[in-house]
């Protein structure tokens, strides 16, 4: 979680310094969700995420350097600078983006899981999306397909209460999201998305069930975004007091305190963790700073595959 937090803080800084451009959506406050779920996945499982996916990519195993270089627009980035902040992909870790269309990744996750089921593989596809996605038709179509065909998908709804600036209660007649999933006969439950141990426990139970042929599962992870939706968001839609109330439940502080109380984390350990993370982020910035531009002559590469049928 601290790795994600520091990387995201660095991204904001680099955005202000105009090193990163385009849209930038940071995950600060929500780290426990990705950290808890990712820790339960196997290396050959698949992950589908959204445009707020730097943390997911990092925790899935994409290097911080490749992520930052991508945001710099350099060829050393994980997508050669073609994707940017919202479109991080990585074949080696089966990380399928990085999708800027709310709910656009859900059908892909269903298809990845369909391929696994038809091929007799016991892999899981974890699909992350915000609560804004539940208003989209693709959410309902995907849940229905996954349940109908009993596909190995773990749907992870990151409910941070606001679809950009629109509060859940202002956009949904039924605000109990787990209930919506349950209406498709999908095993579904909610967990405290500010508590990484609670997320991990819920995810482990769900992933085990999915992997052992129990069909799709759905987790609603209740969380909160501490920062603005994007770098262009003036945050007129929520009170500062609401933000500060949630910040009292900072998932990193919560875990740190729990570990200290249990005698599993000393002040020295904590300092060491911080030093390691700072060193990782510093090295990532150096890697990105040393990046190079893809030659413009390669602009039209990857529109179509270079291998053609005869």
């Amino acid at each position: 979680m601290l790795r994600v937090r520091r990387l995201e803080e660095q991204c904001v800084e680099l955005y202000s310094a105009a090193k990163i451009r385009g849209f930038l959506h940071v995950y600060i406050g929500e780290e426990a969700v990705a950290a808890g779920v990712m820790s339960t996945l196997a290396p050959d499982d698949a992950v589908v995420a959204t445009y707020r996916e730097h943390g997911h990519a990092l925790l899935r195993g994409v290097s911080a350097g490749a992520i930052l270089a991508e945001m710099y627009g350099y060829v050393e980035g994980c997508c050669r600078g073609r994707g940017g902040s919202m479109h991080l992909f990585d074949a080696a870790t089966r990380f399928y983006g990085g999708n800027a269309i709310v709910a656009g990744g859900l059908p892909l996750a269903v298809g990845l899981a369909l391929a696994d089921k038809m091929s007799g593989r016991s892999r899981v596809t974890a699909c992350f999306f915000g609560e804004g996605a539940v208003a989209e038709g693709e959410f309902h179509e995907s849940l229905n397909l996954a349940a109908l065909w009993q596909l190995p998908v773990l749907f992870c709804c990151e409910n941070n209460l606001y679809a950009m600036g629109t509060a859940l209660a202002r956009s949904e007649s039924q605000t109990d999201i787990a209930l919506k999933a349950a209406s498709y006969e999908i095993a579904s439950w909610s967990a405290d998305g500010m508590d990484v141990l609670a997320v991990e426990e819920a995810a482990r139970r769900a992933v085990d069930a999915v992997r052992s042929g129990g069909g799709p599962h759905f987790l609603e992870l209740r969380t909160y975004r501490f920062r603005a939706h994007s770098m262009f968001d003036p945050e007129r839609y929520r009170e500062k007091t609401e933000v500060s109330r949630w910040m009292e439940r900072d998932p990193i502080n919560t875990l740190r305190k729990a570990l200290e109380d249990a005698g599993q984390l000393t002040e020295k350990d904590w300092k060491k963790i911080q030093q390691d993370v700072d060193a990782e982020v510093k090295a990532a910035v150096e890697f990105a700073e040393a990046g190079t531009l893809e030659p413009v002559e390669e602009l039209t590469r990857f529109v179509y595959s270079e291998r053609r049928p005869q």
Binding site: A46, G77, C78, C79, R80, G81, R82, G83, H87, F89, D90, A91, Y96, G97, G98, N99, A100, I101, G104, L106, P107, L108, A109, V110, G111, L112, A113, L114, A115, D116, M118, S119, G137, E138, E141, S142, N144, L145, L148, R301, F302, V303, Y304, S305, R307, R308, P309, Q310
Partner: protein, 326 residues
């Protein structure tokens, strides 16, 4: 052997299912019903519900699932019943299928084939008569095929399945019952070139898909009048076979583009522009176009007919171009 366009398409699907166990067909009513246009009739019984997979009415969901399955190593054939329903899947087609290879810096290709029925001429009214293949041809990352002959109905699918990128196949609804002879050993064909269906020296009639029969009729009429028209079947709307188009115009010095899509912003406009840009000094007359009238297609037969390119309109446009002094 005697066959029809529909049967040739079915033979292609059966062949693909037999050749490659990663291939499966998915769509609305492709299974128990036998396909809305009976293309997949009998395949459900032959290959079972896993590989001839009926879907709910969830175009975005099952097209996206096709993309995901392709990413996951399968070779899906997704049938969208008609082109108008494909509008419900535009997000997946345009935002995902067409972009993933590029956005991922070459890491994730999408070997997906999507088939759909297109076109007017069957009194199906405004919402079931679109010809939007030219629209899709606007999108980089997609390959757009328009089989117009039995050979292409039989042969394009397998090559499309071998293509590492998403391929959309548009089957014109008036072609399914077209009958004729097909070689017993007919098999895969290329999906990159245009084909001359009738050689000629006086004018190039450039078309694709459902209007090919009308264009060939027009060429026959014109021949009786002493005008020798070349008929070029584009076969592929993206990427266009520029060399074939420009080569034909270089031989005939005149061109009429026939396209069932609406004229404004159409593939015919693109062809006209390319000919003008690249072969202006070969031309002895302005490039002509015969397109659909710019109305939602009406139900009444006489009105629908009045809106569509017919052999008479095509022949008239050709006469006008030939009559023009170079």
């Amino acid at each position: 052997m005697k066959t029809t366009y529909r049967e040739a398409m079915r033979a292609a699907i059966r062949d693909a299912l037999q050749r490659d166990e990663r291939v499966f067909l998915m769509g609305e009513d492709v299974g128990a019903y036998g396909g809305c246009f009976a293309v997949s009739l009998g395949l459900f019984e032959e290959f079972g519900p896993e590989r001839i997979r009926d879907t709910p009415l969830s175009e975005s969901g099952f097209v996206g699932a096709g993309i995901g399955a392709a990413l996951g190593g399968m070779r899906p054939i997704v049938e969208i019943m008609t082109v108008n329903f494909s509008l419900l899947a535009l997000d997946q087609l345009v935002n995902n299928a067409a972009t993933l290879l590029h956005m991922s810096g070459g890491q994730f290709n999408v070997p997906l084939v999507i088939r759909m029925t297109t076109g007017a001429g069957r009194q199906l009214g405004a919402q079931h008569s679109h010809s939007l293949e030219g629209w899709y041809a606007h999108i980089p990352g997609l390959r757009i095929l328009t089989p117009a002959t039995l050979e292409d109905a039989r042969g394009m699918l397998w090559t499309a399945l071998e293509d590492p990128d998403p391929v959309l196949i548009f089957e014109h609804g008036t072609l399914y019952n077209v009958a004729g002879d097909l070689a017993d050993d007919a098999g895969p064909v290329d999906i990159s070139t245009a084909a001359v269906r009738r050689p000629g020296k006086d004018i190039s009639l450039i078309t694709y898909g459902g209007t090919l029969p009308a264009v060939l009729d027009a060429a026959t009429q014109l021949a009786a009048e002493g005008i020798d028209a070349e008929v070029l079947d584009l076969r592929v709307l993206r990427p266009l076979d520029d060399a074939a188009v420009l080569g034909s115009v270089a031989r005939t010095h005149r061109a009429v583009v026939v396209d069932e899509g609406w004229r404004s912003g159409s593939i015919s406009a693109e062809l006209s522009a390319r000919i003008t840009e690249n072969a202006f000094f070969d031309l002895d007359a302005p490039v002509g176009r015969v397109c659909s009238a710019e109305v939602p297609l009406p139900y009444a037969k006489h009105l629908e007919l009045a809106a569509l390119p017919t052999a008479e309109r095509i022949a008239a446009a050709a006469r006008e171009a030939v009559g023009a002094r170079g």
